[in-house]
Symmetry: C2
Subunit: 386 residues, 2 copies
């Protein structure tokens, strides 16, 4: 019996080792999001991530990626190295854990998401050409600081202006207001979201018309001191007021916009999809295009929607909405976790019951992450203002 068990364990050990050895393709390359001259982290053809850090006196070092902590191994020089399981294509936040301290990887560039500035990695995707940096005319992304009377604080939005905006000083442009998700900020779309490269490529290939894109911070509260935004306290958001009363007029004054509803779109991802859907329905005089990426205003509910009460009955009259709304666009990744598929499904059922026209897109093999939203933007932006 003892011998039998030993044999089983030995065989299993050999089998397991063999699978692992075969399964680790040694074609790792530095991530496209590494800091200059940094060789790690790396990604291989199996979409595994290899991290490496010198920590000669550490007891335990882990790669913390996608909700899993992978133990890394120390070599004789005190350098710890380890690999993850295969990841989905696209962008992922991650960190290293050194003896219990969760820290950014000193090899990667840093991104704001998951409520912190920290490491990000890009797993090459088959369709990455649409957000690649190419030799096409490039628009500008401008940091725009403003004082908000409503929040009594300085706020910031980033503004994409397409190539030619500065030179064609008589041209006026339609505007897309584009929002980030929860625990992200106004930097997300122009950094990990690749908004400028996506639009540069779409415009260069004439798949989208030149437009301005405004990306503000979706966290806004009435407060005498809101330099530190205490999101955990669930204060009442006044983002809708800030956007409508302060940001839209500022953008129309500062940039050469076409300042009418037919030339304004609003969209967002996750929390931003929820927020902008409410803003859209409350301000059909301001916007005529809507994009909801991985989110709807019934979140997190998946129950049948009662159109009489949902958003104050804003979806009751489908015929009128079909005349007012030029595009109602929804997107979702095929691998998104609960409650998104069912919640968005319930919302779509409501739209269909009300006879409200909409476009629905599914991003293949992506979850609630940035490749889903880059693809959504790519699809959505190509249908705007036409």
């Amino acid at each position: 019996m003892k011998l039998f068990l030993y044999t089983v364990v030995l065989n299993f050990g050999i089998y397991f080792q063999s699978v692992c050895a075969q399964s680790m393709a040694e074609d790792f390359k530095p991530s496209s999001l590494n800091q200059p001259e940094k060789m790690f982290p790396q990604v291989n053809s199996q979409r595994r991530v290899r991290a490496s850090i010198s920590a000669p006196n550490a007891n335990k070092v882990q790669l913390d990626l996608g909700g899993v902590k992978y133990d890394m191994k120390k070599d004789s020089n005190g350098v710890w190295t380890g690999e993850s399981n295969p990841q989905d294509e696209g962008f992922h936040y991650y960190q290293l854990n050194i003896d219990g301290a969760s820290v950014p990887d000193p090899g990667s560039l840093y991104f704001y998401g998951a409520g912190r500035w920290g490491s990000g990695i890009e797993i090459p995707s088959a369709d990455q050409d649409f957000f690649a940096l190419k030799n096409v005319p490039h628009g500008l992304v401008s940091e725009n600081i403003y004082f908000s009377k409503l929040t009594n604080s300085f706020r910031r939005c980033f503004v994409y202006t397409p190539d030619g905006y500065n030179e064609n000083i008589k041209a006026r442009y339609p505007v897309l207001y584009l929002q980030h998700g929860s625990f992200e900020d106004e930097t997300g779309w122009s950094s990990q979201g690749k908004v400028n490269l996506i639009l540069d490529n779409l415009i260069a290939s004439k798949k989208a018309i030149p437009m301005i894109i405004v990306m503000d911070n979706g966290y806004a509260y009435k407060s005498e001191n809101n330099e530190i935004k205490e999101r955990s306290k669930q204060r009442e958001s006044i983002f809708e007021d800030v956007l409508i009363q302060e940001v839209v007029p500022m953008i129309d004054a500062k940039f050469r916009t076409i300042a009418k509803r037919e030339s304004r779109a609003i969209a967002g991802l996750s929390m931003g999809a929820n927020q902008t859907m409410r803003i859209m329905m409350n301000h059909l005089d301001t916007f005529s295009y809507y994009g909801g990426f991985s989110g709807t205003a019934n979140y997190p509910n998946s129950d049948v929607i009662d159109v009489a009460t949902f958003l104050d009955g804003k979806y009751k009259d489908g015929n009128t909405l079909n005349k007012q709304i030029k595009l109602f666009w929804l997107g979702l990744g095929t691998k998104e976790p609960a409650p998104f598929p069912k919640s968005i499904g319930a919302f779509r059922n409501m739209l269909e019951q009300q006879g409200i026209k909409y476009v629905y897109y599914e991003s293949p093999e992506t979850a609630h992450e940035w490749l889903t939203w880059r693809r959504c933007l790519n699809q959505f932006a190509s249908q705007l203002f036409k």
Copy 2:
């Protein structure tokens, strides 16, 4: 003897404890450069930095700041905390060291300098009002991506346009080309350099006239693949060619500049001062104002300069230079290390021997760091294009 020694040790212990207790002012406040909602790092009125991080299984954690590694202490919850000696006013790069791993502090925002993206801390300075975020009209800082034929690579510059640039579409503006130092990049001036806030404040108080500021990357090499800039290999820089042949024409085409030498200035810090001084002297047909912050083209040499050979004799004819150059401006921090004071001193001696007019400024109590350069910019920009 034993008793005597014991008494001495005991007394010294009490004395030392007492000094330490007195010397640590418990008025620490979160740094202005912390990530949202992060309480550490902190700074007290003595300009000490207190860092804190949870690392329950670590053996040793240190705060690595200003070339000194300060041991931190672990509490019963596994949180390590420690303080630095008093620091100079202004901005400093730093990191944490966890069991031999040098990593960014997860509490701070991140900045590119010292050849890496990493932590920075701001020690409040008595004169910080000049770079404070105030309720004045704000200009925009735009990210401008371009393809350089000379380097065969994508490059990026940031462009500050003053308030009113977008609205006053007939106005044209003078341009300052402003360069970072070694192991920094094109993000430095608009992030830790506070270029936009300094100019916003100067322009709002009518101490400077509205101008465009262009901040490019000072590392440029002829290469078929220079995505990773191998600075260590000392390849020949072609930054001068990139700036003159590619950047200046691009800026004049894309922005509403006054495209003549009387309306162009060039300046830089440290390596950037050295680079831009050479570019200025080689292109007096392009620029008429020069600013050198903590650097001159004889770096690192402190010997008497031979005007016949230095920069190909460009300083030989002081009278002509005095007519051509509208402002030749040099700045230095009073605490700068060797070789800067003597090297810049030797350069000033040469200017004086040649009878070349120049302005010299010293930043009080600052070293080779960003508060020196913010002050230099504040002084220099107020004297431009008048």
